[in-house]
Amino acid sequence: MSTQDPMLHPELLSPAPNEGIMRDGRRLDHAEAASKPLRSRPEPQPRGAKVHGNRPIDQAEAAARFIAAPEHEKMHDERLWDLRQKRDREMHDMEEWEELRALASGIKEHTLTHLDEYLEQFEANAVANGVHVHWAKDATDHNRIVHGILADHGAKSLIKSKSMLTEECGFRPYMASVGIEVIETDLGERIQQLDNEDPSHVVVPAVHKLRTDVAEVFSRTIGTDPANSDVHYLAEAQREATRPLILAADAGMTGCNFAVAETGGVTVCTNEGNADLSANVPKLHIASIGIEKVIPRLEHLAVFVRLLSRSALGSPITQYTSHFRAPRQGGEMHFVLVDNGRSERLGLEEFWTSLKCIRCGACMNTCPVYRRSGGLSYGATYSGPIGLIIDPTFNARKYSNLPFASTLNGSCSNVCPVKINIHEQIYAWRRALVERHETPLAKRAAMKAAGELLSRPAAYRAAIAAADIALAHLPRFVIYNGLNAWGRHREVPHPPKQTFHSWYEANRGEKP
């Protein structure tokens, strides 16, 4: 037995690992507030994956750096596991949970297989409501269209609520390049914007940061006291700094959780009311909508609203469920319907159901790999299990390693409120990437050799006999090219006196 591994967190063996973070005798519950440093020694925030153009992202490398920051890793793991547990409690309170999931899945599959009809219906109803509707083929198109609308109004500043679609489109850098100031109004997203870092989670974008990290960012950007990491102080300082920008903004932008075809309206779910500010303070409201967000009827909204926040944060409903249907008097409303690869994905036989996703993040919260890696380790807009099956559709080369960042444990598929078979799609992506030769040569060679050895009993027996002699090391035929990787943080198995095969020959030697 070797000595304590330096990677092991000192609290790993503490008697009460899940006690949470307490304050004034109560557990701190807010997703973005409950992270205190465990030790006084400051630990720099680990940064995400290294991105080199089109080269495959090395998720494992970035994950290893995240784990090497034990305070961050432990907080992140426990924070998200807590969300998973809250989700479970909500689930157990609803007898019809599994029925509701089946219903949600069915509605999405129906809509996606009649997408053209429902989109046209949505557009017609929105236009009838006085909304300007635009169609964007891809990210560039989206950014150009929004820029055009803003330019028409002479708008120089834009407040917006959280939207993964705009992340996907590289919207903020584009706006910066054309001289328009964008102010994120979601607290977590604002933290990430001020730190010039991507969101690490679709619902809680700064969940990988300790509150001391936030104090550092705010002290640098909005002038807070770097030594004060009290969450109320930080939230209040951000509010004070951002509110004047919100009041002075020329235009507002929201994303969209659900677009209802029969009404032509959109629904946005937030916990901070920031979508309402973005939509209602300026006279111009632009909503960016992925085309897969459409649902047929208003009654279907009830199914999804019941599932969304329960799956995401383990709360029965988001604090705000805001419905936008028509411009208010004297104002203007624009919907930008964005494809950006969705039509193509819809044509992929094994992967089209990933379009059912409602971006709740439940698969991330439950994923044991994600919780220990941090969302930024994936180096992509979408991280965690859903990211593994969506990202390769954007760039199969750059994201070719991601489907391998999974143990295929299947927990993601079980928590998914719209029943996407996520782990089966991860498995299918591995096959697809191998078929497209998007896997490393060494791995290809190792697998070919393994396949040949394991299909030839005599050669296989010889390999085991050799292994029997030198069993102090893990033989190649089990782990293939991973001899060193196995033993780096783990002991190798103890060699037995004989294999089962030789025991059988010795004890039950007669031929059957």
């Binding site: 599994e98 220990r372 143990t407 394991l454 293939y480 990787a485």
Partner: protein, 247 residues
């Protein structure tokens, strides 16, 4: 019944006692158990890495070895999952389909086919934490996974409850993956071992003397992790306990 005994490669090489316990246990119930000598592997390591074409010959060999038995039984959930759910690198002839549908994991076989009422020879006076591997839990459906709103059942708990003296302890995250994940354990070794450290620590804090599982691959990984960080816990396959191992 005439049963083909499938002993996966890593059990053959590292855990012969698991293979022996499986063989003896099946014989206790009066079955004729045959161990085909030319068996190697089911093809899962290549298939799980996406290299499906590379496991065709191994799958064909598996079918040659295990055709014609009433049942094929293996003490390994993940291998059985591969054979039953993913074994499609070769043409699906009636013979291939027959072998796939007759392949059972040991716990399933004892619980669903043999319908064992008692293990009078078994006594295990220890506190054990049960590790349901992800393959047995979510694919072979050994038990209700905690993510689903379904009535509770657990085949391994049913079987182990018939063992005298055995006491269960419950870790805080009973269904959390231990991080083995086949080739994931080497290609993502840092995440894999961190998950393993957390897993064995969770069981240890719950008071487990032993972690018991129907998958030796998870146990091999967990044991390596426990020994590295100094968690004093022991590991045993469910076949050994059910066959009467006392420690």
């Amino acid at each position: 019944m005439r049963i083909g005994l499938f002993i996966p490669c890593y059990i053959d090489a590292f855990f012969p006692e698991v293979g022996i316990a499986t063989l003896e246990l099946l014989e206790r119930f009066g079955h004729q158990v045959v161990y085909p000598r030319d068996q190697t592997c089911c093809g899962q390591p290549m298939a799980n890495s996406g290299f499906n074409a590379d496991c065709a010959a191994t799958e064909a060999l598996f079918v040659r070895n295990f055709s014609g038995f009433d049942y094929v039984v293996a003490p390994s959930g993940s291998c059985v999952h591969h054979v039953r759910d993913n074994f499609d690198a070769i043409e699906q002839t009636p013979e291939v389909k027959e072998v796939r549908s007759r392949t059972y994991e040991l716990v399933e076989f004892l619980h669903d086919i043999q319908k064992v009422e008692a293990f009078p020879w078994a006594r295990f006076p220890h506190r054990v934490g049960l590790h349901n591997s992800c393959g047995t839990l979510r694919r072979l459906k050994h038990a209700t996974p905690s993510e689903l709103h379904e009535p509770f059942y657990s085949k391994p708990v049913d079987l182990l409850s018939k063992v005298e003296g055995l006491q269960f302890v419950t870790p805080a995250r009973p269904d959390e993956c231990c991080g083995f994940g086949g080739t994931f354990s080497v290609f993502e070794e840092v995440v894999s071992t961190k998950m393993g450290y957390d897993k064995v620590s969770d069981h240890f804090r719950a008071g487990a003397e032993y972690i018991v599982s129907a998958d030796s691959s998870c146990l091999m990984h967990q044991q390596g992790c426990a020994e590295r960080i100094g968690v004093p816990i022991k590991f045993i396959h469910i076949a050994q306990i059910l066959n009467g191992a006392s420690a």
